[in-house]
């Protein structure tokens, strides 16, 4: 589904992504792990089109999207959330999801009938909020939500774009430790139901091993290992990088 070949990203003189190559297959949940500054978020930004690579190639379903605009990537089926919640703060929780659905259904340019006229879309937005467990707060403004719920809303918005490939940048950061698995259960159940492929950046190795089909380990911009979580964590170089365990 997603194929990344020799991807390089330089910021000035520093190379942040260095010849990264990997694939994500359909229906697969891949966890992207690595220490702080490894380039995980940069990689997500490159795939979502937020920034463009210095060199290399990104293919999605056989089509080259290396330099495609974010708009085109969303049309092709790539959606993302944000590590630091990135919401429409002056719109209600419901409207945050609804605007995504208007975009997906091509209604965003409709300028005559009020947003409430599209009842099907409103209902679907409520269903998505229910699926993510925040439908009771649908009329709240995002600033009134807890950090955890904001994070869930951010993911629900990415989910509402009906993508085929979802990029989730730390979907549980800021969520209370006791709620992390609940949030992940919700997100993964929704992803599996829609048969989406997904790439999750995550620091919590328990979550990584419980929810991912495969793990990519990124260090200093390079993919240094990939495979099943249990196998990966046995590799010496991964232990050194992720857990600081010396040989």
């Amino acid at each position: 589904m997603l194929k990344v070949e020799d991807l390089v990203k330089d910021f000035g003189k520093s190379r942040v992504i260095n010849s990264a190559s990997f694939e994500v297959r359909e229906d697969e949940i891949v966890a992207l792990v690595g220490p702080n500054g490894a380039g995980k978020t940069t990689l997500v930004n490159l795939i979502s089109g937020h920034i463009l690579p210095t060199s290399g190639k990104i293919e999605f379903n056989g089509r080259d999207i290396t330099t495609a605009s974010p708009y085109l990537r969303i049309q092709r089926g790539i959606a993302r959330n944000f590590q630091i919640t990135n919401l429409f703060e002056d719109s209600s929780v419901l409207d945050n999801v609804r605007i995504c659905l208007f975009s997906v259904y091509g209604k965003i340019s409709k300028g005559i009938f009020p947003a409430n006229y599209y009842r099907e879309i409103t209902r679907e937005a409520e269903d998505i909020l229910a699926e993510f467990g925040i439908v009771d707060q649908k009329h709240e403004m995002p600033s009134n939500l807890s950090e955890g719920d904001k994070k869930v809303l951010d993911t629900a918005m990415a989910f509402a774009l009906k993508s085929r490939f979802l990029l989730l940048d730390e979907p549980t950061s800021g969520v209370a430790t006791g709620d992390k698995f609940k949030v992940m259960d919700t997100i993964v159940a929704a992803i599996k139901k829609q048969k989406m492929a997904c790439m999750i950046i995550e620091h919590d190795m328990d979550i990584v091993s419980d929810y991912s089909d495969r793990v990519l380990v990124l260090s200093e911009g390079e993919v240094i290992a990939q495979g099943k979580a249990a196998e990966i964590m046995e590799q010496e170089n991964v232990k050194v990088i992720l857990f600081g365990v010396k040989k």
Binding site: H50, R80, F82, I99, F102, N116, L161
Partner: protein, 332 residues
Amino acid sequence: MDDKNFVLRPAFFICTAIFIGLLFLPQILPVYQLMLIESGLTFAIMGLGFNLLLRYTGLLSFGHGALFATGAYAVGMMGRYFPDLYRIEILIPAALAASLIMSAIFGFVCVRHTRVFFSILALALSMVLFALLVKLYDLTGGSDGIHIDLPIMFGKSYEGVKRFEFLSGGYYYFLLCIFAAASILMFAIVNSPFGRALQSIRDNEVRAEMIGIRVRRYRWYAFIISGIFTGLGGALWSFVNGHVSPEISEWVFSGEIVYMTLLGGFMIFVGPIIGAILFTYMKLYAISITQYWMFIIGATLIILVLLLPEGVAGGFAKLFAGRKRANSTGVG
């Protein structure tokens, strides 16, 4: 907007009552007062357009005077160069077309930037138009401007009729209908998915792009719609004023557009309408009191910003919402 149907809301009844009240103004007000109201209504249409950019898209234009001038000059030029087509049913579409083209050009340049860069670009372009209107004397009448004759309105000629008779007769109702239609249309636009998209861009440009909104293109659309409303206001105003001159394209008038929107309150839909009518009266009475009328306007702006940042309409809305809340909680 909540799920409650707008037709059932108190605001709808208030607006309808005001509209019905406006219908009877020619029977109540002296002609001079009526002309002031008409002038205010044309500014109100412009204010609605201006506020689509300011409130709903987050772009502060200091060049909307040029778009107002485009609509007004379209009428003047039609009268000058195509006198056979000097009919209101042709003049208004012509002004709309001219405003569309001008705002498409202005917008294409301006929406490449936001914040102060956008404002300055809009101001610079409006001053280019101002310079052209002044310098191209043979084409535009230069600083003398163009006299606006009374048009043929739906087959009825007003030749030999005094302007005040024209303005207190059919034209007032024509203007009122256009004002009502423009208000309803703008209300629909800002509450539509398109309006929501603009507000999303205003709130969070990065996220808007990441949910598939073409940010720059939608800003451009907003600019064009805003420009068309502004140009329509200009065209309708030209008949009330009877004369168009380059001053309406100058930055001072663009500043007045910003002023009237702030006066009414840009955070509320009806703010620019109320601001436009208030400003028309305020400016006139300030001029009649003192030659230092700009001092009064300036002082009012300072008081407004310090004491009533939501504007007059915004302040009333806040007061009303506060009372409603107090009543519902059994306080006060």
